[in-house]
């Protein structure tokens, strides 16, 4: 990982450290549960898990302010939980139930929350990027001081519409942060095999957009980089690119046998770089928390995910009339 070294003496409080630990753990347990429910046939279709990448969204949410927007691809469960959406509502969407965020009509890849300023959940690789710039255009137009976090992967970074968007975002100085979650694999194709210039954050240079690489396994480094990017965009200086070097432990989707990388590569990353273990280490070695306190958080997280799963199983299937609703808004 050729990422910047983070400053390990965080100017964050113990409460913040504990909340990052808890939030990352919540995402991980959520995803493990989702994988389990998928295996039981309760979740269908495509289901892209975020395990390993938790520090990216948790670090950036720590840098966001109320009213800031976010939009991402189909690997979206972590983003929704990190921005405060209810895990039960997300899980119930995965099971295709009435209690889901989209009433069961969107599924894993297509979920939204107007209340939490989460604009999807988009299933077409790269399509969310101009949409993010449009949200930023609206914010600039409305002069509300908000910024939009627009997430996409290293795979999407090769889509043409990304560069159309870079151009217009820079031209119009839109308040947008392009977050490239580089987990090194575009489905089964490694970055090496798909991407001519491996340092994706430098691609903004052609448009005059500053960018930097960030260690995405370190939530504090992500937060620090996020704060810098937010300050830049909020000040009216236009877009900023964060290439966050991360890693997904699971396959691209549930049905991916992941034969394109070795078991050892995954295991090494889990053992040496795991974002949750890292923050746990900081908390324990710094004596900011005891093992018992962390265990209590683990239990609370596990219980809330179990409750979310129960809700997702119990919530009824959408009523049949829902087939015909939400196609048009009433004129």
């Amino acid at each position: 990982m050729a990422a910047r070294k983070s400053s390990k003496k965080p100017n964050v409080s113990v409460e913040e450290l504990l909340s990052y630990y808890r939030d990352m753990l919540l995402i991980r347990r959520f995803e493990e549960k989702a994988g389990q429910l998928y295996g039981m046939g309760l979740i269908g279709g495509f289901c892209h898990l975020y395990i390993g990448q938790e520090a990216v969204v948790v670090g950036l949410e720590a840098a966001a302010a109320e009213g800031d927007k976010r939009v991402t691809s189909y690997r979206d469960h972590g983003h929704m939980i990190a921005c405060g959406m209810d895990a039960a509502g997300v899980m119930a969407e995965l099971t295709g139930r009435e209690g889901g965020y989209s009433k069961g009509k969107g599924g894993s890849m297509h979920m939204f929350s107007k209340e939490k300023h989460f604009y999807g959940g988009h299933g077409i690789v790269g399509a969310q990027v101009p949409i993010g710039a449009g949200l930023a255009l609206a914010d600039k137009y409305l002069e509300n001081g908000r910024v939009t976090f627009t997430y996409f992967g290293d795979g999407a970074a090769n889509q043409g519409q990304i560069y159309e968007t870079f151009n217009m975002a820079a031209l119009w100085q839109l308040p947008i942060i392009f977050v490239i979650e580089n987990n090194q694999y575009a489905m089964g194709t490694s970055q090496k095999r798909s991407t001519s210039t491996p340092e994706i954050y430098t691609r903004g240079a052609a448009f005059g957009i500053p960018g930097e690489a960030v260690d995405g396994m370190d939530v504090l480094a992500v937060k620090a980089a996020g704060e810098k990017a937010v300050a830049h965009s909020r000040a009216g200086d236009g877009p900023y690119i964060l290439e966050i070097k991360t890693y997904r432990y699971r396959g691209h989707s549930m049905s991916d046998p992941a034969k394109y990388r070795t078991r050892e590569e995954v295991q090494k990353m889990r053992e040496e770089r795991d974002p949750i273990e890292q923050i746990r280490e900081v908390l324990l070695t710094g004596k900011h928390a005891t093992d018992a306190e962390l265990k209590a958080i683990d239990k609370e997280v596990k219980d809330s995910i179990n409750a979310a799963a129960e809700f997702a199983k119990e919530s009824p299937e959408p009523a049949e009339y829902e087939l015909w609703t939400d196609i048009y808004a009433d004129a």
Partner: protein
């Protein structure tokens, strides 16, 4: 409590699989994330991980077993304090097979349905009329709506300083400034997506495509993002916006600049599709489109831009969607058209009248929603119908109209419905070939004579 490990579903289509290999044995301790077994699905061999920690109690299915149904128990894990040897499978799991629910479609029923047809005038009788081009009518519609609602803005190639590639946005930059009249780079895919995002974010964008041929670069954003989001979000957010610009053939611009997209867009639930003919309709429908909380495809025509029509002098001309206009009443044959097709339909009706055939000419004006009631009502009177459009014959709008008439008014038909369309070829450049490729008035006349058995 002991936890059963169930045969997992590892792909969207998997119903059963093979337990290729166990990677743990009875008595092994496992943690979440440890690989338990390799399972062969219909797609691949997958590693199957533990979700819970504990000790493998009993292995219930031997490796090499084929045809194991998803959700049947394959092993048992003992947890804190349990004796792994004595734990047994304690339940017969029932696979939660989601029962397919037959759903009744709001059907195009076999028996004729009652349609309410809105025959109210679009503006009061006696309204003063003025002559105006379609181009100016469209410009006025945008200007009026931009004055009315500050969240409405226009973006596209050459819409601002150049005053519009076809001068439709003439004067708008002067009146509304560069914040609301935005020149874009030539990047349809990107700026269409930006406009969709702006609509999600609370604005009401009007996107001008220099022609709809170029909107093919943007069609993913139009359909996957703009049209489907309201549904995918369970009604939480949608894209109140207009995509507009010239559509169909102009003159001598050949295959890549001459396609009619009416049929394409009119297939998409979530979009509304407007294709006006006259200047008054262009104005009244564009104003309605801008106010509509849904994505609207507004298909204009370059040849019609310079054509003048009577436009009512009223303060706020809005024409509702889904209301066809009967241009000419007649009892012998119904001609249904829209957009520039109306030109051929109306010319043909004149020629037919000279031959003693009274055609009723219906301008659909909007294709989605479509005023099916007006068509059916007319066909019940004339017992014959032809459709006229510039687009290609396969999957044409007329095909759909024909099927609706067959289902709703079969017993009223005295002849098969004929679809008059453009020819099934890419648009050629040569003058003579282009003329042959397009629909002609004479072809419409011929079709009307065929269905009235005068030929």
């Amino acid at each position: 409590m002991a936890i059963e490990i169930l045969m997992p579903a590892l792909s969207p289509t998997m119903e059963e699989g093979t337990l290729a290999k166990w990677l743990v044995k009875e008595g092994d301790s496992v943690a979440a994330g440890d690989i338990l077994a390799e399972i062969e699905t219909d797609k691949a061999t997958m590693e199957f991980e533990a979700v819970d920690e504990g000790i493998i109690g009993k292995i219930l299915v031997a490796e090499g077993t084929e045809g194991i149904k998803v959700n049947s128990p394959i092993a048992v894990i003992a947890q804190d304090g349990e004796d792994p040897v004595s734990v047994e499978s304690h339940t017969q799991p029932t696979a939660p097979t989601p029962a397919p629910h037959p759903v009744e479609q709001p059907s195009v029923a076999a028996s004729p349905k009652e349609y309410t047809v809105d025959q109210s005038p679009d503006w009061p009788d006696g309204t003063t009329m003025k002559q105006q081009t379609v181009r100016d009518a469209l410009r006025d519609a945008m200007a009026e709506e931009m004055r009315r609602d500050t969240s409405v803005y226009l973006m596209g190639e050459e819409v601002a300083e150049y005053q519009g590639a076809y001068k439709v946005s003439q004067g708008l930059l002067d009146e509304f400034g560069e914040k609301r009249v935005i020149d874009t780079p030539i990047t349809e895919h990107g700026f269409a997506g930006i406009a969709v995002g702006a609509a999600f974010g609370g604005l009401r964008p009007i996107v001008e495509f220099m022609t709809f041929n170029f909107a093919m670069q943007a069609i993913d954003q139009i359909i996957n993002s703009a049209a489907k989001t309201l549904y995918m979000s369970g009604g939480q957010m949608g894209a109140p916006m207009v995509f507009r610009g010239p559509n169909g053939a102009a003159a001598r611009v050949a295959a890549q600049h001459s396609q009619d997209y009416a049929a394409w867009y009119s297939q998409i639930p979530g979009l509304k599709v407007v294709m006006p003919y006259s200047a008054a309709d262009s104005k009244g429908l564009l104003k309605t489109a801008i106010r509509d909380p849904n994505p609207v495809i507004f298909l204009e025509n370059e040849i019609l831009y310079g054509r003048s029509f009577e436009v009512p002098e009223v303060d706020d001309l809005v024409i509702p969607f889904g209301k066809a206009r009967v241009w000419r009443e007649g009892s012998d044959v119904t001609i249904v058209s829209f957009g520039i097709g109306m030109q051929y339909a109306l010319e043909a009706s004149e020629k037919l009248a000279a031959d003693g055939i009274a055609a009723e000419v219906i301008d659909l004006r909007t294709l989605r929603p479509m005023d099916v009631g007006s068509i059916i009502q007319s066909v019940m009177k004339t017992n014959r119908c032809i459709t006229v459009e510039e687009g290609w014959p396969q999957g044409a709008v007329g095909n759909y109209i024909s099927s609706v008439i067959m289902q709703e008014a079969f017993d009223y038909l005295d002849a098969p419905v004929i679809n008059c369309t453009g020819k099934d070829v890419p648009m050629p450049y040569a003058t003579n070939l282009e003329k042959l490729a397009l629909i002609t008035t004479d072809e419409v006349v011929d079709a009307a004579k065929q269905v009235t058995y005068r030929k």
